[in-house]
C-alpha cells in the first residue's frame, strides 16, 4: 500500500501511540463532517472510545484514530477535524484537504446534521465531485422533526450516488443500520482511493448551486412556518440584553460552588483513606529502610503524591460540569453576550469561550485557538488565556482556603480569585491590544440547547482524569521529590531549617518575595510550581510534614496568616502557568521570544498584584 504511516515520536500527553506499522490488509476509513454535527459522538460509539493519537503523511497535526473490526474486516478509522468547506482556508480545512490528497481511503463517512441539511449537504456534494467512495450519515435524526424537517434519504442517495442513513449518534436510533451499511460499503471497495487535487475537481459556484437546489427539492422538506422551539424560548431569557450577563455570571458561580460543595467531602474522605493506608501498610512495609531513604519515600514520594491524588475527585466533578456546559450550547451564547466587550479589548467572543475552557486546563484552550485565522488575534488570546484559573490552581486554592478561612467565607475567597483571574486577563488584553490588532470576522453557530447523556459526562470526566494522571505524574514525582531533597539536604542540618538547600533558596529570594509576604518555605513550593501547579500542593505537603504530625492544613495555618496566604494564592494564580502551557504557547506561536515575553509579563503582573495586596492589607492593619 502506498500510505505507510510512520509515527515514532512520542505524543506529548503520553497517550499510547497508534501501532500503524502494519497497514497491509487494513481498510482505511476517514470520518468527515461539519463542526458540531456529532462526529466525535459517532466516532466514540463506533470505536468504543479506544482511540489513540497518531500522525499522518502530509499533515502536521495529530489525529485521533482507532483500529476496529467491522464485519470480518480489520479497519482503521481516522477522525478528521470538523470543517465547513473543502475549499476553506482555515487550518483544519487545510489538514483535511492534505489528508485526503495524501492518504488513500476505502471509505469516507460523511456526518451531517439532518436538521441543517439544507446548507450542510454542500460538503457531501463536494465529496461526490472529488470522487471518493463515501457514505452519508444524517445525524441528530432525533432533533430534525422538532424543526419541522422531513428527509427522504433515498432521493438524496440517488442524487449523491452514495448510501444515506439517518441516525442519532447520541441516543442510538438507526446506529445499527448505519453500521451495517458501512460494513457493506467497505466490502465493495477493495482498493483504497486517493483524492486528486481537490480544487481542480470542484465545479463552479453556479453549477454547484443548481445541483444543490435540485437535490434539496427532492429530498429535504421543511414546513414553511417557523417552529417555536424550546431553544428559542430559553434564548429569550438567557440572551436577554439586561439579564443575560448577570445570569451568566450567576450560573458560573453556581457551578464552581457545586464543585466545591461536592468535591470537598470526597476529598477529605480520600485523604483519610490515603493516610490510613500509609500507617497500615506503607510504613510497616518500609520500616527496614534507614532513615533517609525511608523518609524520602514516605514523606517525599508518598506524602506528596497522596495529596495530589486526593484531588482527583475535584477534577472529576469539575469535568462533569464542564461536559454539561460544553454540550449545552451555552458557550457560544456567552460569546454573543460578551463580544461587544471583548471587541473593545481587541479580542472576540471566541477568545472568551476559549478563556472559559482555560478554566479547565489552559493547554487545550490554547490549542483551540487554531480556529482563528488572524495570527494577531491568536497571539493576543494566548497572552490572556494563561490567566484563566485552571483546575490545577483550583486544587491549591481549595486547599488553602479551607485551611485558612472558615467555611462561610472560603467560597467567597475562592470566588474573589476568579474575579482576579478575569481582571488580569482584561488588563493584559487592554495593554497588549495595540500591539496585536486584527480584523477577523466573527461568525458562530448557535446550536440548540442540549444536555449530555450520563454516558457522555462520565466519559468526559474519566478521560480528563486519566489525562491529568498521565500528564502530571512525571512532573509531580519529580517536583515533590526535588522539594523534599531541597528540604533535607545537606543531611547534617535540621530538615527544613535555614541551613538546607531550600533554606538557602528561600533566603536568597527573600528580597523579592519578602515584600509580598511569602516566607522562605513557601518560596520553594512556588519555584517548583513553575513546572506544574499541582506540585505547589504536593510541595507544601512535603515542606510542612517534615516537622508537624498534625494535618497539613493545621500546620500551614500555624505558620502563616490569611494575608500571607491570600498573597501567596494571588501570586500562584498569576505567575507563569505550568511548563506545559509555556510549551504549547511556544509551539502554537512558533516563537520562543513570544513565549518568554508571556512568562515575564505574568511574573511582573503577579508580583505587582501581590505586592499591592500584601502591603495594602498590612497598611490597613490586617
Amino acid at each position: 500500500m502506498a500510505n505507510s504511516i510512520n509515527c515514532n515520536k512520542c505524543n506529548s500527553d503520553g497517550s499510547p501511540l497508534l501501532d500503524v506499522t502494519s497497514t497491509a490488509g487494513l481498510k482505511q476509513i476517514a470520518v468527515l463532517g461539519m463542526p458540531n454535527t456529532g462526529k466525535s459522538t459517532f466516532f466514540n460509539r463506533l470505536t468504543g472510545a479506544n482511540a489513540s493519537v497518531g500522525n499522518w503523511p502530509g499533515i502536521t497535526v495529530d489525529l485521533m484514530a482507532a483500529k476496529i473490526k467491522l464485519g470480518q474486516q480489520e479497519t482503521q478509522v481516522v477522525d478528521l477535524p470538523g470543517i465547513y468547506d473543502l475549499r476553506g482556508f482555515s487550518e483544519d480545512e487545510e489538514v483535511v484537504r492534505k489528508f485526503l490528497e495524501s492518504n488513500p481511503v476505502h471509505l469516507v463517512i460523511i456526518i451531517l446534521n439532518a436538521a441543517q441539511l439544507d446548507r450542510q449537504i454542500s460538503l457531501a456534494l463536494q465529496i461526490k465531485h472529488i470522487g471518493l467512495p463515501a457514505l452519508l450519515l444524517l445525524n441528530m435524526a432525533d432533533e430534525a422533526p422538532k424543526f419541522g424537517v422531513q428527509i427522504e434519504p433515498e432521493s438524496i442517495a440517488r442524487h449523491l450516488e452514495m448510501p444515506v442513513v439517518q441516525m442519532s449518534a447520541k441516543y442510538g436510533q438507526g446506529y445499527a443500520q448505519a453500521r451495517n451499511s458501512i460494513v457493506a460499503q467497505l466490502g465493495r471497495q477493495s482498493e483504497p482511493m486517493l483524492a486528486g487535487k481537490i480544487d481542480k475537481n470542484l465545479v463552479t459556484d453556479a453549477e454547484f448551486a443548481t445541483e444543490m437546489g435540485a437535490l434539496l427539492q427532492d429530498g429535504f422538506h421543511v414546513s414553511a412556518e417557523f417552529k417555536e422551539t424550546i431553544t428559542t424560548k430559553i434564548d429569550r431569557v438567557l440572551l436577554h440584553p439586561v439579564f443575560g450577563l448577570p445570569i451568566f455570571f450567576g450560573l458560573m458561580y453556581l457551578m464552581f460552588q457545586m464543585v466545591y460543595t461536592i468535591g470537598k467531602p470526597l476529598q477529605d474522605g480520600l485523604n483519610s483513606g490515603v493516610e490510613w493506608f500509609k500507617t497500615a501498610a506503607v510504613e510497616p512495609a518500609l520500616s527496614f529502610l534507614p532513615k533517609f531513604p525511608h523518609d524520602l519515600l514516605i514523606d517525599g514520594l508518598y506524602g506528596g503524591m497522596a495529596t495530589v491524588a486526593a484531588f482527583l475527585p475535584v477534577i472529576w466533578i469539575f469535568f462533569i460540569c464542564m461536559a454539561i456546559v460544553e454540550d449545552s450550547g451555552y458557550l457560544s451564547r456567552s460569546a454573543y453576550l460578551m463580544d461587544a466587550f471583548m471587541e473593545r479589548l481587541g479580542l472576540d467572543g471566541r477568545s472568551f469561550v476559549m478563556s472559559l475552557m482555560g478554566f479547565g486546563c489552559n493547554v487545550p484552550a490554547i490549542m483551540g485557538l487554531r480556529v482563528m485565522r488572524s495570527p494577531a488575534l491568536r497571539l493576543l488570546s494566548m497572552l490572556v488565556i494563561p490567566f484563566s484559573l485552571c483546575s490545577a490552581r483550583l486544587n491549591v486554592f481549595i486547599f488553602m482556603t479551607t485551611a485558612l478561612f472558615n467555611a462561610n467565607v472560603a467560597p467567597l475567597v475562592l470566588f474573589s480569585l476568579y474575579l482576579f483571574s478575569f481582571a488580569a486577563a482584561i488588563l493584559t488584553a487592554f495593554i497588549f491590544k495595540g500591539k496585536y490588532p486584527n480584523q477577523e470576522p466573527l461568525i458562530l453557530e448557535l446550536p440548540p440547547y442540549r444536555f449530555p447523556t450520563v454516558r457522555q459526562m462520565l466519559l468526559r470526566a474519566w478521560s480528563e482524569t486519566k489525562h491529568f494522571l498521565r500528564f502530571s505524574w512525571r512532573f509531580i514525582i519529580f517536583g515533590v521529590v526535588a522539594i523534599w531533597l531541597c528540604n533535607n539536604l545537606p543531611t547534617n542540618v535540621e530538615p527544613a531549617s535555614a541551613g538546607t538547600i531550600s533554606g538557602e533558596i528561600g533566603r536568597a529570594l527573600q528580597p523579592i518575595l519578602g515584600p509580598i509576604g511569602i516566607n522562605p518555605k513557601l518560596s520553594v513550593a512556588l519555584i517548583f510550581g513553575f513546572i506544574a501547579k499541582e506540585i505547589v500542593l504536593g510541595g507544601l505537603a512535603v515542606i510542612y510534614a517534615t516537622k508537624q504530625d498534625a494535618g497539613l492544613a493545621g500546620a500551614i495555618a500555624k505558620e502563616i496568616d490569611w494575608v500571607q496566604a491570600y498573597s501567596f494564592m494571588l501570586f500562584t494564580l498569576l505567575y507563569v502557568p505550568c511548563l506545559s502551557t509555556v510549551a504549547v504557547i511556544k509551539a502554537e506561536s512558533k516563537s520562543i521570544k513570544f513565549a518568554v515575553m508571556g512568562v515575564l509579563w505574568s511574573l511582573v503582573l503577579a508580583w505587582s498584584a501581590s505586592f499591592i495586596f500584601y502591603q495594602g492589607a498590612r497598611l490597613l492593619g490586617f
Binding site: M34, Y84, D85, R87, G88, F89, A115, Q116, D118, R119, Q120, S122, L123, F147, V149, A209, V222, F226, D235, L239, P241, S332, A335, Y336, L337, D339, A340, F341, E343, D348, G349, R373, P441, L442, I443, L444, E445, L446
Partner: protein, 77 residues
Amino acid sequence: MSLAELSALPLETTASILGVNADTALEHRLQALGFRVGKQISVIRKAWLGGPLHVRIGTTEVIMRRCDARSIQVQPN
C-alpha cells in the same frame, strides 16, 4: 422596502439574500453556513453596545458582528 444591508434590517423582518460581498474566505464560510442567494433570513436580536446580531437562516442560527453583516445584501419581503 428597498434593498439593504443585513446590518440595517429591522428585527423580526424576513428578507431574502441578494448577494454576499466579502473576500473569498468569508464568502466560503458564509455559504457553508447557509448564506446563499435567495435564502430567507431574519435578525432575531441585536446585542447591546454594538454587539453581534443573532440571525436565523433556515434552521440554522448564527451570531455575527455588525461589520461582517454589512457584507450581506438583502431585500426585505
